[in-house]
Symmetry: C2
Subunit: 331 residues, 2 copies
C-alpha cells in the first residue's frame, strides 16, 4: 500500500541502508547509487515516513508553541520570530491553543512526554509554576512573554514591572495626580508586575494609592468601557488611565469620547501592546511596545541551544520595551 524505503531499495537495486544514506546526504556513497536511488524515489513518489525516522533518531525537529488562543494579535510576531530562529536550524514550529484551560495545557505538554515534539514554549502559562519548573527539569521547556513567579527556567520576556512604572511615571510627568489602572481579575504574572510598577511610580511620586482607581476586569474592550464609566462616576475623577492592554484602553477611550471628555486634555490614556488598532483611530493611543519578534526569536534560539547543551540555560532574559507616545497622552 504505502511506499517504503524497502520499495525504493528494490527499485534501485541497492540495500535500504544505501537508500537511507542517499536520503540523508551521507558522503560515503557512490554517484551511481545516488542516481539510482534518486531515480527510484522520483519514480515511486516516495517520501520518508517520519515516524520511523523520528523513532530511530529519537528526535522530531519540531517544537511546539503553546498559546491561549490565536486571538491576541501580537502572538503573530512572536511566532514569526520563533519560526525564523527554528527554520534556520532545521526545526519546524507547531502551534497549539489551550483555550486558557490549564488541563488542556497539561495535555499539550504531553506531546513533550510522548516525544511528539522536541521542545515547547509556553506563551501564557496557566498551570502553576511549580509544576512547570518540575517538568522543565526533564523536558525542554521555555516561557515567553511572561515570567514564572519563581526562577529556574529559561524565560524571555520584558520587564513588566518596569514598563508599568514607566507608563505611570510618564503620566505623572504630565502633571497628572489621579491615575486610574484597569487590569484583569485573573492574574497573569505580567499584569501583576505591571500593577506593581504602577504602584511604585505612585509611591515614588508621593501620590497616595486609591483603591477606587483600580478596576479589575477581563481582557475585553467592554472591561475598558465599564471601568471608565465607573471611574467617571467618582466624585474625584481620574485625570489619566493606564490599562494593561490596548484593547481595554480603546474600550475606555470610546466611553470617555462619547461622554464629552477631551482625550489627551481632560483625561490621558496609556495602553499596552501597541496593537494595530492603537494607531488606527483618532486620537491615537499612547502605548507600551514590546519587542514581540525579538522575544520569539530569542526564546527559540535559546531553547534549541538548551536542547543540545550539557547544562541548560535557565536564566530570565528581559528585553527592552519602549513607550510609544501619541495623542491620547497629549503628544
Amino acid at each position: 500500500m504505502n511506499i517504503t524505503i524497502k520499495d525504493v531499495a528494490r527499485e534501485a537495486n541497492v540495500s535500504v541502508a544505501t537508500v537511507s544514506r542517499v536520503l540523508n546526504n551521507k558522503s560515503n556513497v557512490s554517484d551511481e547509487a545516488v542516481h539510482a536511488v534518486n531515480r527510484a524515489v522520483e519514480k515511486l513518489g516516495y517520501s520518508p515516513n517520519f515516524l520511523g525516522r523520528d523513532l530511530r533518531k529519537s528526535e522530531t525537529k519540531r517544537i511546539l508553541a503553546i498559546i491561549g488562543s490565536t486571538e491576541e494579535s501580537f502572538y503573530n510576531d512572536v511566532l514569526r520570530g520563533m519560526q525564523d530562529a527554528c527554520f534556520s536550524q532545521g526545526y519546524d514550529v507547531l502551534i497549539a491553543t489551550t483555550r486558557n484551560d490549564p488541563e488542556h495545557e497539561m495535555h499539550l505538554l504531553g506531546m513533550l512526554f510522548s516525544k511528539a515534539v522536541d521542545g515547547a514554549v509556553l506563551l501564557a502559562p496557566k498551570i502553576d509554576s511549580k509544576t512547570i519548573l518540575e517538568l522543565s527539569k526533564k523536558y525542554s521547556i521555555a516561557v515567553c512573554l511572561e515570567r514564572l513567579d519563581t526562577e529556574g527556567i529559561l524565560c524571555v520576556t520584558i520587564n513588566n514591572e518596569r514598563a508599568g512604572y514607566d507608563a505611570t511615571s510618564y503620566l505623572i510627568g504630565k502633571g497628572r495626580k489621579r491615575i486610574g489602572l484597569i487590569t484583569t481579575k485573573i492574574r497573569s504574572q505580567s499584569s501583576v508586575d505591571r500593577e506593581k510598577g504602577y504602584r511604585r511610580a505612585l509611591e515614588e511620586a508621593g501620590i497616595p494609592f486609591d483603591e477606587r482607581l483600580v478596576y479589575y476586569g477581563d481582557y475585553s474592550s467592554d472591561t475598558g468601557t465599564r471601568a471608565c464609566e465607573e471611574f467617571l462616576k467618582l466624585e474625584n475623577k481620574p485625570d489619566a488611565i493606564f490599562s494593561i492592554s490596548d484593547i481595554i484602553s480603546l474600550g475606555a477611550m470610546v466611553y470617555a469620547n462619547n461622554h464629552g471628555y477631551k482625550i489627551g486634555k481632560d483625561i490621558l490614556f496609556f495602553g499596552f501592546d501597541n496593537i494595530l488598532f492603537s494607531h488606527m483611530f483618532i486620537p491615537r493611543l499612547s502605548t507600551v511596545d514590546q519587542p514581540c519578534y525579538l522575544q520569539g526569536k530569542t526564546v527559540a534560539e535559546k531553547l534549541i541551544a538548551n536542547m543540545k547543551a550539557e547544562e541548560p540555560d535557565i536564566s530570565t532574559y528581559m528585553l527592552p520595551h519602549s513607550l510609544i507616545l501619541r495623542e491620547s497622552t497629549g503628544d
Copy 2:
C-alpha cells in the same frame, strides 16, 4: 535513560504485551495485572512514546490546520470549532503558519506525506488548486473558509459571491447608485467571488460598472484609507463603499470621518468578517458575518469522517452568512 514499556513490564513483573493492553484499556486483562501495571507506571513516571505507538498503528490522531498567519482574528473561532469536533473524536489539532508563502505551505503539507499528521485543513490555500486536488487523492485534505476554483475536494465555506451580492444589494436598496469596492490585488478565491457578487448586484440593478470605483490593495487598514482618499478625489464620488474586509473598511471610515463626511448619511460603509473592532467604534460598521465556529467544526467532522470512509466526501458545503446592520449604513 528513558523509561520505556519494557521498564514498566519488568517493574510490574509482566510482559510488555500486558502493559500495552493495560495502557490501552483492553478488556482481556486481570485486575491484578491492571493494578501492578498502574503502580509501576506511577512509580516510574512512565509515559508512552507516541513515535513508537504511531509508527505501529500508522496513525497519529493529529490533524493540522494550515493558516497564513495568526493575525486574522476570525481564525480563532474556526480553530475552536475544529478543536471541538476533533477532541470529541480523540484527535488533537495542531496549527502551522505558512506566512503566505506557497513553498512553505507545501513544506507543511509534507507532514502529511511523512505521516506526522493524519489530515490537514487548508484555511487559505496559496498553492495552485491542481496540486492540491492531486494531493487530496492520496491524502486527507480539506479546505475551509475558501474554495478552490475547481471542484473535487472537501470544502467548507460560505457563498462569497452571494455575500458580495447581498451586501452590495443592500446598499443599492438604500438608494445608493455609486458604490465603491475595495478589494485585494492578490486574489484569493473569496475576494474574486465577492467581487463577482458586487458586479452582479450592480448589473441586476441596472447600475453601470465603473472601474474607477474599484480599488485594489492589500488586507491592511492603510489600503482602506488610501482607497477612500482616491475615491473622494473623484468628481463623481461614491455614496457607498463595500470592502472585502472590516479592517479595510475601518481604515476607509477613518479617512471619511476625518474629512468631514457623515458616515451613514453622506456615505455608507459595508465591511466583511464582523471582527471585534467593527462594533467598537462609533459609527459601528455594518458587515457580513460568517459562521466561523461552525465552518471549523463542520470541516473537521467531515475530514475525520473521510479518513475512515471508503469513498471520501468531496462536496463543497456553503454555510449561511448573514448581514449585520449598524450605523455605517444608516441603520
